[in-house]
Symmetry: C2
Subunit: 329 residues, 2 copies
Amino acid sequence: MSGPIRQPSRTPTLADVAAAAGVSLSTASLAFSGNKPVSEATRGRVLSAAGSLGYTGPNPLARNLRQGRSGVVGIAVGPLSTAFRDPAALPMMDAVSQVLEDEGLGLLLMGDSAEHARLPLDAVIYQICGQETWAAYDDLVARGVPLVVVEGPAWPGATFIDIDHRRGAAEVATHLHDLGHRRVATLTLQESHPQREREAGLREVFPDAVRIGRCVSDLTAAQELTSAFLSEPTDVTAVVCQSDVQAAAVVIEARRRGLTVPDDLSVAGFDGVPTPWLDLELTTVVQPFAEKGRATATAALHRIEGEAVDDVVLPVTLHVGASTGRVST
Amino acid sequence: MSGPIRQPSRTPTLADVAAAAGVSLSTASLAFSGNKPVSEATRGRVLSAAGSLGYTGPNPLARNLRQGRSGVVGIAVGPLSTAFRDPAALPMMDAVSQVLEDEGLGLLLMGDSAEHARLPLDAVIYQICGQETWAAYDDLVARGVPLVVVEGPAWPGATFIDIDHRRGAAEVATHLHDLGHRRVATLTLQESHPQREREAGLREVFPDAVRIGRCVSDLTAAQELTSAFLSEPTDVTAVVCQSDVQAAAVVIEARRRGLTVPDDLSVAGFDGVPTPWLDLELTTVVQPFAEKGRATATAALHRIEGEAVDDVVLPVTLHVGASTGRVST
DNA sequence: TTGTATGCGTTATCAC
DNA sequence: GTGATAACGCATACAA
């Protein structure tokens, strides 16, 4: 064999392939990218040269630098164990990753450590489920990274994807009012945009709703608060929760104390997530999770392309289940 | 002001900063990376020049190319909604992301689409929960990307992190045998490495265990299989499941049919995940999730450094809860 | 359809 | 402690 001596330990580059195929570097590049037409013959030569050299395709790192993109979108969710414990997070993220994957982009999980500022991200989605942390925000804005905020606070420069928390909460409250309830209690989430909106919606109908407490969307935490509340005498006939997990906790704890749902106590949730371990269909406000995820990912894609993107507020729908009933007289 | 005319619309580079600070490019680089000593005075000049130019630090894309690393580790989990529906996935991934984050690395979620082969990943973790798909495997191997397989099949060249499924399953089976059980049924996972091992452990003690069925670790699916099984008369006194979610389903369905657990039927699980919505502590095999995650991430880090890494098999522990009892005579 | 020539923005190697 | 210079591997504008 002729030709220059091969360095066996170096991974081949596109230049090596081009040389072996007897074409120019740019032609070899086009043979892989398909960004411009290449004759079938030369493409064949390039690909077979690549094959025999063990060339596995253009180095993503080099392409990224050249194109100024990493192909990776970050999603800030906070600590994974808490972020995903909330069943409402999953279907939404699933849709996000699906849309991105279809475009060949990857989804990178970010805690909140601001460490990830050193990673090359084409855009960042904030889906922090109420934990309103800024951490890396300033840095990302300074670097011009497009930001999409899901149900979050109004950060300047970000695109917002939201649902109509307030209307949903008002609808479920109206539903209870129609059933004759007048004295209701509420279990709220931690201080956050969704919490504020949902509570505001509730108080449009029940301005004097008693707050049982405030906790994350966690069964155990919610059950403890409910237990403390129900251990004192109360004239409340309904509990409005800000998540289905909380509502399930109220149902479980109420039953544990001998109450019947909904005869003795009506319970409403929010989200519309499956609770197959509960033998009772919750009355709740159903979010369009998939649509929310798609809207989020699509917004990120558009912003990466430099396009202007409108904020989105998606509608929710009241689902009347078996956990709410007419108030007993 | 003197000097060349500034292009206002171009984001500043390290060269711009160096020029503005009156130092060389390499010195400016060192001022940011700290890879070599730089006098405090010049570092100050560099940083203040960066500040006034709005330079936000070295471009990650360029650094990645130069260093041959992306700082991103992929984790193949399949479709998110199924991957995370299994509560066993969370604490493990949490530990993985924690370890990586401490090293400044990011964690990228991969479906199984092989699309992600075009992304620059420093290593890939396969945590596919029994879905034994190869998809991108060949490609990754060809590109020399280090692979870490968690509870997976024996892929050549990969590092393996596993738990002692077989011993755990045998221990829970022995526990039941000690309680007098002789006729047991089992609910198994989909065909996979964990399933095979766990079932083998069970059959060391109960070679003739009846298989109720095979399903993913999903409450509804498991409940349906159990319902079908219990609708026929049976002399089985215990059901051994391969996940806690399955076990919870068996408990729920057994009770729905008027059986008492564990008096009429003993039920055992696997994993040791919290099931706060079940008012019964499951007898189960507890996995060291956090340790598994740390071992996985650590293995990935070492392999990225080019070091050899030993496979890991972590021990499990039997936890006797209230879902198993002495067989009634 | 193909080839030539730049430059993406760094970091690392060397000399000073 | 600092500076000049050479890659890193590729995609594109432009010329042929």
